[in-house]
Every structure is written in C-alpha cells, then in structure tokens.
C-alpha cells in the first residue's frame, strides 16, 4: 500500500474526483427530474467530502477531516433528505422547467467551463508544496458558474435553491483546493450557514407556493417598485 502515501497519487485522485463533480454538475443542468437532481447534488457533495478527506490525508491536516465529515453528513445526507421531503410536501416529483432547452444549456455550460479555465489559469499562482490546485481551481470555478447559470435558467424556487447549493459546492471546492482548508471555525460557520439557508429557503419556497399558488418566480413580477 505504498501509493496511499504518494502525494502524486493524491493529486491525481483529487483531480479525478473534482472532474467527476463537474460532470455531475453539467448532468444536473441537463437533468429534468427534480428528485434525480437532489440525488445528484448529494453525490456531488459526497465527492467533495471525499476530496476534502483526501487532502486531509495527503497533507496531514487533521482539521480538514472534520470539514470532510461535516460535508458528507450535512450536504450529502441531511440536505438531500430535507429537500426530498420538501418536494414531497409540495407535491412535485419531476419536471424542472428550465427556460432554455437542454442542448443550449449544455453548450452554455461548456462555454462557462472554458471561461473558468481561462480565469483559473490566471488566478493560480502555486506556492511550494501546493501542487493540487491547477485543474481543481478551474473545476471549482466551473461548478460555481454553472450553478449560477442554473439559478438563472430555472423557474421554480425549489430548483433555484438546489442550484444555489451546488454553486456553494463550487465555492467550497475552490476554498479547499487553494488553501488546503480554511480555519476550522470558518468552515463550521459556512456549514451552519448553508444549512440555515437551506431551511429558510425551504420555508420560503413553501410560503411562496401557499401565497402565489405556484413556485414559479417569474410570476412574482408584481413585486417591483
């Protein structure tokens, strides 16, 4: 089991998992089923947790283990369960209605990935011992941008919440691969934040539906000045 302590192997492993996370993100853009989307989000979060674990292992930073553990429990297990329940309660199980069609969305996602690589390249100034970031940062930015694009592209508030969460995954990935883990208190704070945000948004979505008889935010146009 020599390779388990080889940093080169670690880097490849992290890059591979990051790439998988990106693939999942793009698949989420194309996927129309809400439940599938929630589960893909869970999978993506699990991959992130695994990345954090790998970084913790290969860099010997113990506190990232906690981040990894939190990621997996909160984002990969807790949030998907909450969201599925919410979807159940509201009574929609399938059909996200995006504004743009799947092919166009996928092309845009590709373009965004391209932009992310351009941007990531220039922001990446590796220090000594920081070999991980190169591709991972670009992937993180892609996930972030695509998540943002999903938010714009979807009509229903619940699906936007989901897009926001996956966007946050991008932020998390960028943070962890650039800094090898922020101070623990920051990460705990971020987790708590995401959890609260998801809960609040869930309630909000429920209320929107009660009041407007729809979750379609494009019907909320009356709210302007």
């Amino acid at each position: 089991m020599e390779f388990l302590n080889n940093p080169e192997f670690g880097e490849k492993l992290v890059t591979l998992m990051a790439a998988l996370a990106l693939v999942i993100q793009i698949a989420m853009v194309g996927q129309r089923s809400l439940i599938m989307n929630i589960r893909m989000y869970g999978t993506q979060s699990f991959l992130l947790g695994a990345i954090a674990g790998a970084i913790a292992h290969f860099n010997g930073a113990w506190h990232i283990y906690i981040a990894a553990f939190l990621t997996i429990t909160v984002k990969a297990i807790l949030l998907p369960i909450l969201l599925e329940r919410l979807a159940d309660r509201i009574g929609i199980r399938h059909e996200i209605e995006p504004i743009l069609g799947t092919p166009v969305s996928i092309v845009i996602s590709g373009a965004l990935t391209f932009i992310a690589y351009i941007v990531g390249e220039s922001f990446y100034h590796p220090g000594p011992g920081a070999a991980l970031g190169r591709n991972t940062l670009a992937v993180a930015i892609s996930i972030f941008l695509i998540g943002f694009f999903m938010m714009i592209n979807r009509r229903k508030a619940l699906t936007q919440v989901l897009a926001l969460l996956s966007l946050e995954n991008g932020v998390f990935l960028a943070a962890i691969c650039l800094t090898y883990g922020m101070p623990l208190i920051v990460e705990v704070g971020v987790f708590f934040d995401v959890l609260v945000a998801a809960l609040v948004l869930g309630i909000l979505v429920y209320r929107i539906r009660e009041n407007f008889e729809s979750m379609d935010v494009s019907k909320m146009r009356r709210l302007r000045g």
Binding site: V119, I141, F148, Q160, M220
Partner: protein
C-alpha cells in the same frame, strides 16, 4: 478676547436652551412660547454684543468647541466679516423674537408651538455657527442643520399642499446646492491638505486657471441657490410666503444672506486676486436677478410672494456690488473694490432689516385680515396705523428713496459703478454704465411696486369683509416692527458713522480702510471717496423733508385759520357713494408693466361673458389673467422631464424578474472575472 468668547458662547447656549425649552414644551404651548422666545431674545442680544466686539477686536479669535474628532475640528472663528453677519443676524433675531411673542400666540392650542420654537432656536443657532465656522466640515454641518430646520419651519403649516410642495422644492434645491459646495470644499482641501478655513486663505488664486474656474463656479452656484439668484431662485418665491411670517422675515432677511456670506468668504478670503471674468459673471447675474426679480414682483398680488421676489431683486443688487468689487480687485483698484464691497455688505444689512420689517408687516396683516391676497385688503391704514407706518417706512427703504438706509447702500453701489467706467481702458468698463442703468431701472420699478403694495393694501376702502374687520397687531408685534423701522432710519441717517464697521472687514480683505474717505461734512454727508464721485447728505434730506412737511402747517397757521373749511369725501368727483369696486386694483395698477414687458411675462388672458338675453347684457363676467412662469417652464420643466425620462428608461432594468436580477449579477461577475484574469 475672553469676554468676547464668553458672550458668543453664552448666546449659543441661550439658543440651545431655547430649543430645549421648545422641545420640553410640546404639551405646554404657552410656557414654551414665552420661555423659548425669551431665550432666543437673550441669545440674540448676547450675539449682538459679541459681534460688535468681534468686528472691532484687534485680532481674530479662533478656538474650537469641545467636540469633534481626529478628522475635523469644530473650529469657530470670530473675525470682522463673520462679526458683521452675526450682527445682522442678532438684530433680526432680536426683533423676530419680540415679534414672535405676539405672532405665535394665536397658534396656541391650534398648532405645535413647541416645535416651532424648537426649530426657530435651532435655526438661529445653526445660522450663528454658519457665520462663524472656520472648518469646512463644521461649516457644512451647520449649513445642513440650518437647511433642515429652515425646511421644518417652511413646512410648519404642512396641512396645505402648496406648503408641502414648497418645502420639498426648497429641500431638493438646497441639497443640490450643498452638493456643489461639498465638491468645492473638497477641491480646496485637496490643494491645502487641511479642512481649516485658515489654510484656504488666498489659496484659490494659486491653483491652475481651470481649477480656479471650477472652484469659483461651484461655490457661486452652491451659494447662489441659497441666496436665490436667478435662475436658481425658483424655490424662494414658493417657500418664503408659505412659512409663518416671523419665519419668512428671517428667511428673507438672513437665511438667504448665508449665501452672500459664503460668497464674500470665497471671493474675498479664499481668492487672492480673482480673474476678471469672475467679477463679470457675478455682476451679470446680479443685474439679471435684480431686474427680473423686481419685474416678477410687480405682477404679483400675493403680498408675501411679492416680498419674496423683492428678495431676489435685492440679492441681485448686493451681487452687483460684489461683482464690481471683484472686477476692481482684478484690475488692481483696491479703493474702488472696497467701495463696491462695502456697498454690497451694507445693502446686505439694510435688506435684511427692511425685508424682515416688510415681512413682519405682511404678517401682521395676515394675522388680522387673514389673507395674503392684496386684492382682498385695502383701507388697513385706518385699522392698523402702526403696522401701516412701519410697512411704509420699510417700503420707502426698499425702494431706495432717501433718507433711509436702502438709499445709502444703493447710492454707494451707483457710485462704485459710475467710478468703474473710468477704472480701465479696455472693453470691460462698458459693463459698468450698463449695470448702473439697469440698476436704476430696477430701483424705479421697485418704487412702483411698493406704491402698488402699500397703496392697494393699506389705502382706500376695504375690499373684503376680513379687511374691514381688521384690527391692530398686539404690542409685541408692533415693537418688533418698530425696532426694525428705527434701524432703517438710523442706518440711513447715521450711515457715515456706521460705515466704520466696514473698516476692519475691508482692511482684512483688501487692505483698505474707507470710512474716513466716505464721510464728509463732519459725518453729516456721504462722499463716494472716488475721483469724480458725488456727495449726498441723508441727514440734510431728512431735515428738508421735515421742514417741508411742516410748511403747510405753518402756512395754514399764518393765513389759513380765517379760511372757510369744507369736509367731504375724497376722490368721489362729486358723485357720492364710492365703493371698493371703484378702486384701482393691483392687477389694474400693474397692467402698464404687463404690456411693456409682455415679451417677458407672456401674459395670458381669458374673458368669459355669461348672458341670458343678449351679449350686451351679461349676467356675469369671468376674467382670468396669468403670466408665464418662464423659468419653471423653460428651464426646470425640460430638465425635470429629461430626468424623469431617464429614470423611466432606467426603470426597465428593474424588471421585477428574479431571473433578470440573477442574470445581471452573473454577467457582472463573469465580466469582473475576465477583467481580473486579464490583469
């Protein structure tokens, strides 16, 4: 110096205590009125003494109030210029406080007297600080407190829609002006590295020409809004009439003078040797304001609006003095500059006094006849003799007739302009006789206007029931007016002695002391102090007037006692039974001016006859006449429309769609990322 600072601070404390008393007295209007206005009076008297000491103090007293932080200090500077403006303020504040005892009394129980007293004292406090602040930041703070308390006072009778609207216009324009001042001060502060006024001394003249122009224009426009120069005047005729009359007097008397103070400060302290064109601009704006102000006043039938337009006119006259002073200074004629500067400052004081007096008179009329419309007054001289006498004195003074104070300052302005023609050889000198001619036109029109204002309001028969039932104002109001009327006489007759006040001011600004040269005949006559200047004696004119008015009595005493006397109604030409309908109306009086200046007024007239049998026997005639509000229509309306149009176009950005908002953020983010990646 010590006593000066103590007196000054004592005045400030009295104002602050008055404001506190007003606040405390929300539930007890009578106590609030008596205590708050007594404290204001005490503060005003202390400030008068402090100001007089400051003018003649051997050195400028500069010290800081015990507040402030690292960024700025609450520096107060008591120099002759601020002393002079504080003196003006103190006199008006004293008279206004006395006047308010009676004027505010009838509001008890109907309106919130406590809040009026609070904002009144706050206004006086902030005005004192505006005139003495010596730190740009502190100045702007005092300036804003002044603007806001003035706004609250203007909107005091806020249940009326025009009042609210006027207050809003004032607030908007005032803040736009403050914005310009802020930029101006920042430009100066960048050059000096400090916000203290002492570091700005003659600083502007060391800047590049472009920066000089920017500083000059910013301050001129910023202070011009408050002063009410045309075309930045539109708030003034709206706001001054709707305020309670004691406040209108202060607004027209001293609040708009803060603009004049600011200009004096910038032009004669911050600028060393100004470029010639700045003086020309001030002169031109002054002439236009004076002439248009009086022309609009002529066709006004609302007594207080008429007075408000006259404020614009008089601000114009003051600016003519200032503009001439700037030109002379640029041409290297300090004596002439001092003469013109003195003329402007003296007119500032005089206008403050007689305009306040006139507003108080209008307030007394409003108080007892309950109308501002001159067409509903008439015959008030019999019912309100003291008010009428005071108003008449004010009217004579504002018309620039000898021997009162308005005459002296306008005469000095003329002398400066006349001397200006010989001051240089280039084309700029042509401006002076033109300005002089237009100034005399202005003065003549002002006299015509006040013949109308006094004649229609106070003479002949009452035109309405309210006017017929009018009664004289309470004693405190009479006293307030009487003090100001006495000032008008004193500043007219004692001008040569009073002019000594300006020695320290011109000495500091221009290095010239003029008072000895302006006095002739042991101080009983005014001299221009210029090469071919004139001489005039207000005391002599007054003596002749008194003698001439005594002459008929003497003639009657000598010859007339034996003659037969018949008493009959006046003006009825043998046909008895004159009614108010036979009287000359204000509209009729100003008709010739409407015709002559039709190009300016663009009068609109609509006459409708209603008849039943034949058009020759109308049952009713409806007549409507209005003049065009040229500046509102041609200058502000297009601007406002453009602004609103732009806002409407901008509004489509605000689509109300969450997706659109997200897309904005998204696009901005990507652009920023690419921008960052490029760099």
């Amino acid at each position: 110096m010590f006593s000066l600072n103590v007196l000054f601070s004592g005045g400030l404390i009295a104002y602050a205590a008055g404001a506190a008393a007003g606040l405390a007295g929300f539930r007890a209007p009578r106590a609030a009125r008596v205590i708050a206005f007594s404290l204001a009076l005490a503060g005003a008297l202390l400030e008068i003494v402090a100001a007089a000491l400051a003018i003649f103090a051997p050195a400028t007293s500069t010290w800081s109030l015990p507040f402030g932080g690292a960024l700025f200090s609450w520096t107060v500077r008591l120099n002759p210029l601020s002393g002079f403006f504080n003196l003006t303020l103190g006199v008006l504040a004293a008279a206004a406080s006395i006047y308010s005892f009676g004027y505010v009394r009838h509001m008890e129980g109907k309106r919130n007297v406590g809040s009026l007293a609070f904002f009144y004292n706050l206004l006086l406090l902030s005005l004192t600080l505006v005139f003495t602040a010596a730190n740009a930041f502190f100045f702007l703070v005092a300036w804003e407190v002044m603007a806001l308390s003035a706004y609250c006072l203007i909107s005091f009778e806020h249940e009326k829609a025009p009042t609210r609207r006027a207050g809003m216009v004032f607030l908007i324009m005032s803040h736009a002006g403050t914005g310009l001042l802020l930029i101006g001060f920042l430009l100066l502060a960048r050059a000096s590295g400090s916000l203290e006024f002492s570091s700005f001394h003659q600083l502007a003249s060391t800047m590049s020409p472009r920066e000089q122009a920017a500083v000059f224009l910013l301050f001129f426009a910023g202070f011009g809004v408050k002063a009410g120069v045309i075309p930045l005047h539109v708030w003034l005729p709206a706001a001054h009439p709707v305020a309670p009359s004691n406040i209108s007097g202060l607004m027209s008397g001293i609040v708009i003078k803060t603009g004049i103070y600011g200009m004096a400060l910038v032009f004669f302290d911050f600028f060393g040797l100004p470029p010639v064109w700045t003086g020309m601009v001030v002169l031109a704006v002054g002439v236009v304001s004076a002439l248009l102000g009086v022309l609009y006043a002529l066709v006004e039938h609302d007594l207080k609006r008429l007075l408000a337009y006259h404020s614009i006119e008089n601000i114009g006259i003051i600016l003519i003095g200032f503009g001439a002073a700037l030109v002379f200074r640029a041409l290297g004629k300090p004596e002439l500059a001092a003469l013109a500067f003195i003329a402007g400052l003296y007119h500032t004081l005089n206008h403050a006094i007689f305009k306040c007096l006139l507003f108080f008179g209008a307030g007394s009329v409003l108080h007892s006849a309950r109308t501002r419309n001159m067409e509903e007054m008439g015959g008030l001289i019999r019912r309100m003799p003291v008010t009428a006498a005071c108003f008449l004195l004010g009217a004579i003074a504002i018309s620039g007739l000898p021997p009162l104070n308005g005459f002296v300052s306008e005469w000095l302005t003329y002398q400066a302009l006349l001397a200006g023609f010989g001051s240089s050889q280039d084309l700029t000198r042509v401006a002076f006789p033109i300005a002089g001619a237009l100034l005399s036109l202005t003065a003549a029109l002002a006299a015509a206007c006040f013949v109308k204002a006094f004649g229609i309001s106070f003479l002949a028969l009452p035109r309405s029931d309210q006017a017929a039932e009018a009664h004289e104002a309470p004693f405190s109001m009479q006293l307030g007016m009487g003090i100001l009327a006495a000032c008008c006489v004193a500043l007219g007759l004692g001008a040569t002695w009073f002019l000594k006040v300006f020695d320290p001011i011109t000495g500091a600004a221009l290095g010239v002391r003029m008072s000895a040269r302006l006095a002739a005949g042991n101080g009983f006559a005014l001299a221009a102090g210029t090469a071919h200047g004139g001489t005039v004696s207000t005391v002599g004119i007054a003596a002749v007037l008194v003698l001439l008015s005594a002459l008929p009595a003497m003639l009657w005493f000598v010859w007339g006692r034996s003659a037969r006397r018949v008493q009959g109604p006046t003006w009825d030409c043998g046909l008895p039974g004159l009614t108010a309908a036979n009287e000359y109306t204000a509209t009729g009086f100003s008709k010739p001016f409407r015709m002559v200046f039709a190009a300016l007024y663009r009068p609109k007239r609509e006459i409708q006859h209603e008849y039943e049998v034949s058009p020759y026997y109308p049952t009713a005639v409806r007549f409507e006449s209005e003049i065009e509000a040229a500046f509102e229509k041609r200058f502000y309306k297009p601007f406002q429309e453009a602004l609103m149009g732009m806002a409407r176009r901008m509004r489509s950005v605000q689509a109300g769609s969450i997706h659109a908002y997200l897309a904005y953020i998204f696009v901005a983010l990507i652009l920023l990322l690419l921008f960052g990646a490029r760099g």
